[in-house]
Symmetry: C2
C-alpha cells in the first residue's frame, strides 16, 4: 500500500463481510477515507482510529460536487497520504470511478481500482434470485433509472431493452418505474413478467417484494419503493419464492404484498 | 457458520485479495471445498489444513456432471459437514448457483449464497475500463457466448443486443467472436467500435488487447483469445489506453497488437 496513492474501491452492498479482503485491509490502513452516501456505516467502523473519514455523498441540494471531490483526492495524495476513495458496490458501475481515475491520471496521481461486489448482482443473490439460469436466463442488462442531466435525454431505450436480455436489473430506478414498466410492455414483455424489488440488500433492513410487471407498473406496490433498491425484471425473479434464504433475526425478508383493493386481480398473479 | 450447511460462494476473479471477507473466512473453516475450474489455485491455498478439496470442474470430455456435484453436496451436508461450494467470480452469474440452490432446497439442505466479484465486472476494472461512464455508457449487457446445449438454439439476439446497451460484456465468448462481431455490426454497431479483450484478469497472466469490432471480427487478433477472457464492446473500451493501471512485475498488461500485414489498415485504428 503506497503513500500518495488513491485507491478507488468498492464497499460492496452493505454487510462488511461482503467487502473484499483488499478493501477491508485498505480501510485498516488508509489515512483518509472519502466515502459516498451508499457506503454502509458498519463498513466505516473498520477504518483505523485516527483516519480522517470524509463524507462526499451527493444528494439533491447538497454542496458536494465532483470537482470538490477531485480536488480533495488530489490534495490528500499530494500530501503523501494513503487515500481510500470508497464507493458503494463496485466503483466502476454507476460510481464515476472511471471519471475520477481520469482526473487523477491527468494530474499525475497514482491510483488503483479495487473492484467490489456490486449491489446490482448482490441484491438479487441475497434475495435468492439467480440472474442467469440454464433454462430461464442467459443474459442480463444492467441499467440505471437515473441519467446524468448533462446527457440531455435518456440513453436507455427500454423498448429495445425488453427484447435484448432475458433479465433486466434496474438500479436507482424506483422513482420512474411505472413509466419504465409501460415502455417494457410496449417493447414486448408480458405484463405477467415477474418483477422483484429488493431494498436494502445485505443489511438488517433487507426486504424483497414480488410483483408482476403490469401490477407494479400500475402502482401495485403497497407502499413506496425505497432506495437503495434493485429491481429485477424477468422469469428468474419468481425464483425468490423458492430460493429465499437470507434471514434477519431468523425471519424471511420476502414480504407478502398487501394488495390494494382495486388492484386485487392484477396482484393475485404475482 | 453452520454444520450441515452448504455455502454457495464466489471466489472472485483470481487474486485472493479480491475474495470477500466472508468467503475467505469460509475457506479457513470449511470441512469440504468443492471447487470449479475457474477457481484460482492461490485461492485454494487459503483452505485450512485437513479440508477436503474436491475439484468439480467441468470441461469437455470430463466426467463430472451436475448430478454428481449435487449428490456430493448433499452427501457431505447430510454428514454434518461445513460445505463450501466455490465457484469462480460470482455464483449466480453463469455459475449455476441457482440450480444447485434449487436442488438443495428440494432435498431440505440449508444453504447460503455468498456473492463474489464477478469477472464480468472485475476484468474490465483491472484493465482500467469503467463499464459505465457519465458521458459514454449508462447501460451494460452481460452475456455468455456459450449456451446450454439443452436450450437448443442460442437465446442471445446479438442484433438486438447491439442497440440495447451502450456496453456489452461477453464472457466465454472467445471461440465464436467473429460470428458475434458480424451480427453486432448487422445490428447497427460501427465496425470502428472499440473492443477490449482482457485475459486472465487479476492474475499475473493478465493481458489486455484493444481492437476495433471490425478488425477483431475479421480475425485481427495476432494470436488466439485464450480463456478465461472477458470481451468488452463499446466506447468505454478505449479508456484502457488512458486508465491502464494494473502492473505485473512493474509492467503494463496492455499489449500492443502485432498487426498482421493484411490487416494493417484496420488495426491501425484500434
Amino acid at each position: 500500500l503506497s503513500k500518495g496513492k488513491v485507491y478507488i474501491a468498492g464497499a460492496g452492498p452493505g454487510d462488511p463481510s461482503l467487502l473484499t479482503v483488499k478493501t477491508a485491509e485498505l480501510l485498516r490502513v488508509a489515512d483518509v477515507v472519502i466515502y459516498d452516501r451508499l457506503v454502509d456505516p458498519e463498513v466505516l467502523k473498520i477504518a483505523r482510529d485516527g483516519a480522517r473519514k470524509i463524507y462526499a455523498g451527493k444528494r439533491a441540494g447538497e454542496q458536494w460536487i465532483q470537482e470538490e471531490i477531485n480536488a480533495l483526492m488530489l490534495a490528500e495524495a499530494k500530501k503523501g497520504r494513503v487515500v481510500l476513495r470508497l464507493k458503494g458496490g463496485d466503483p466502476m458501475i454507476f460510481g464515476r470511478g472511471g471519471e475520477e481515475a481520469e482526473f487523477l491520471r491527468l494530474h499525475g496521481v497514482d491510483f488503483e481500482i479495487v473492484p467490489g461486489v456490486t449491489s446490482a448482482l448482490a441484491a438479487p443473490a441475497m434475495a435468492g434470485i439467480p440472474l442467469t439460469h440454464r433454462l430461464l436466463s442467459s443474459s442480463l442488462l444492467i441499467v440505471t433509472g437515473q441519467e446524468a442531466p448533462s446527457k440531455g435525454k435518456r440513453s436507455v431505450d427500454w423498448r429495445l431493452a425488453a427484447g435484448a436480455a432475458d433479465t433486466l436489473v434496474i438500479l436507482m430506478g424506483a422513482g420512474n418505474f411505472p413509466e419504465v414498466a409501460a415502455e417494457l410492455i410496449s417493447g414486448g414483455l408480458s405484463s405477467k413478467t415477474p418483477v422483484a424489488v429488493v431494498e436494502w440488500a445485505a443489511t438488517p433492513r433487507q426486504r424483497t417484494r414480488l410483483f408482476t410487471l403490469g401490477a407494479l407498473g400500475m402502482g401495485g406496490a403497497d407502499d413506496e419503493i425505497a432506495p437503495p433498491s434493485v429491481i429485477v425484471v424477468g422469469r428468474v425473479a419468481s425464483l425468490a419464492k423458492k430460493l429465499d434464504w437470507f434471514r434477519v433475526d431468523g425471519k424471511t425478508t420476502l414480504k407478502k404484498n398487501k394488495t390494494r383493493p382495486r388492484r386485487a386481480r392484477a396482484d393475485r398473479s404475482s
